[in-house]
Each structure stands twice: as C-alpha cells, then as structure tokens.
C-alpha cells in the first residue's frame, strides 16, 4: 500500500541534544581510517581557523540516522521498516561540527512517492546547535522495497 502523501511537509520534534566530544570525533576518525590532525589536535584545528577540533564530514550520521529511524518507526506513517534500504545520502554544509557543539536534529518529510511498488521517502535533517546555529542539512532517501520483492 502506498504511503500517505499527506505526510509530506511533516516536521518531527527536535531530537534530544547530543554533545559532540573530542573523544567521539577521534573515535570516528579512527573508524574511517583518517589520521588528519584536525580531528585530534586543537592546535592543528586552530591553524585552519577552528576554535576546537572539528568532526569528519559524515560524523553527523551519528545523529541524523537515529533521527531518521524515529520517523521510519512512526506507526502513523506505516512504513514497513524491515523492507527499508538506504538509497542515497547527501549533506549540505554551513560549517563543520566541532567538539563542544551541542546539537539537535529536526527531521522534515521532504517527499514521498511510489515507483514500481516501491515507496520512496526523502527525509531532510536540519542539524543545528542548541543556540540555533545551523551546521548542516542531511537528505536521506529511504526505499521500502515492494513486498513482492522481499525474500
């Protein structure tokens, strides 16, 4: 059954604040194998004009993915999350996240459409500090494969 297009434009409540720490940034940089000092050394970050160590570009996935899951599991939307795959992902940056940022995500349902029995939903996640400074926007396309395709 196609998803209710009435959900387009729906805005979900901001997520609980998440505090970006130096330790988590270093852990994430290690996990993606990036040894750049700007992720670990305050002086190296300062040399590029940053007030503290900055986070790798896809660090925001820690908060945006969880925020997207909350929407995917919204019973009112009725998406069968067992059939959901991540179709594409895009980030538009105002500035890098950095240690000390306290951030929240506000998810908006950007679009919903059905194609060949597959439901496609684009979730926009606006990541901002609790002081209201916008850092980046995440666009996530989730595809719920048609029940006929499932194994």
């Amino acid at each position: 059954m196609p998803l209710d297009t009435g959900f387009i434009g729906r805005i979900y409540p901001a997520t609980q604040p998440y505090v970006v720490s130096r330790a988590k940034i270093a852990e994430f940089a290690d996990a993606v194998g990036d040894d750049s000092p700007v992720y670990r050394d305050v002086e190296a970050a300062a040399a590029l004009g940053y007030p503290d160590v900055i986070a790798p570009p896809t660090f925001a996935t820690i908060v945006t993915l969880e925020a997207a899951y909350a929407v995917v599991h919204d019973p009112a939307l009725g998406l069968d999350w067992t059939r959901v795959v991540h179709g594409d992902q895009r980030y538009v940056y105002d500035r890098p996240l950095r240690a000390g940022d306290e951030i929240t995500v506000v998810v908006t349902v950007e679009s919903i459409r059905s194609m060949a029995g597959n439901d496609m939903i684009v979730l926009r996640g606006d990541v901002a500090t609790v002081q209201g400074e916008h850092a980046l926007t995440s666009y996530t396309l989730l595809v719920a494969r048609s029940a006929a395709d499932s194994v």
Binding site: G33, V38, P56, P57, E66, H86
Partner: protein, 142 residues
Amino acid sequence: MSLRPVFTDLEVGQELPAHTFVVTRETLLRYAGASGDFNVIHWSQRHALEVGLPDVIAHGNLTMALGARYLTQWAGDPGALSEYGVRFTKPVVVPDTDVGTTVEITGKILELDGDSRVRIDLTVTSEGQKVLAQARAWVHLS
C-alpha cells in the same frame, strides 16, 4: 599538513590521484561502534545470507565516509567541503579474511565556478564494481 590545491591551477577534466582503501571486518566493527549503526548485515554472515546477500557488507555510510576522506585529504581542510552526496548502488562485500577487500576511489573535476568552488565527481569501485553512483561534491577553496 599536505599541500593545498590552488584554485587557479585547476582545470575542468583534471583527474585527481587514485587512492585505495582497505576494508576488513575489523573496519566494519569499528565503524559500527563509532557510528552507532549496528545493523546485523554488517557483522553477521548468517544474517547477511538470510537476506540474500553474498556475505557481510560494509555500511553504505562507511563507503561514503571513505569518499569524504578522499576529498578532504585532497582539499587539505575538511571544512572546505560544502556539499557531498552519493547513491548507494552495489554493496561492498567484506569477507572474513585478514585482507578483507578494497575500495578504489578516483576523482575528476567537472566544474569550476566564480566563487572558488570546485565540483568533483568520484568513481568508487570495489572488486571492479561501481558501489556508489552520482558521488558528487562541491569543495570551496578559499
């Protein structure tokens, strides 16, 4: 600090150096912990086979992160990335061996705008298969 590219030296069509990234099961484990994405298909072969995958696969966001690493190493400043997007097309299959698999990335300059911004398209493959499509970035060189 690596040498930063100079905008006026760049040309449309220019290729950026290729880079090979090794991905093992340990990489996936670390990424799961760091990102909080504990989907079973990224660590349990049994579950991966059950849903019709050939083996455990890498997180799409990990492959995307390797692309970001490629771009920011070239730019010399992670904050230079102003936009970055990918489409996940084929999974990166990661066997349970010491060597794991590799992801190969190359980049090409597609556009230069009047605001010192460079559009770079990435070609991202694993085992000869394109694993990301429409992998595009805008990098702002100050």
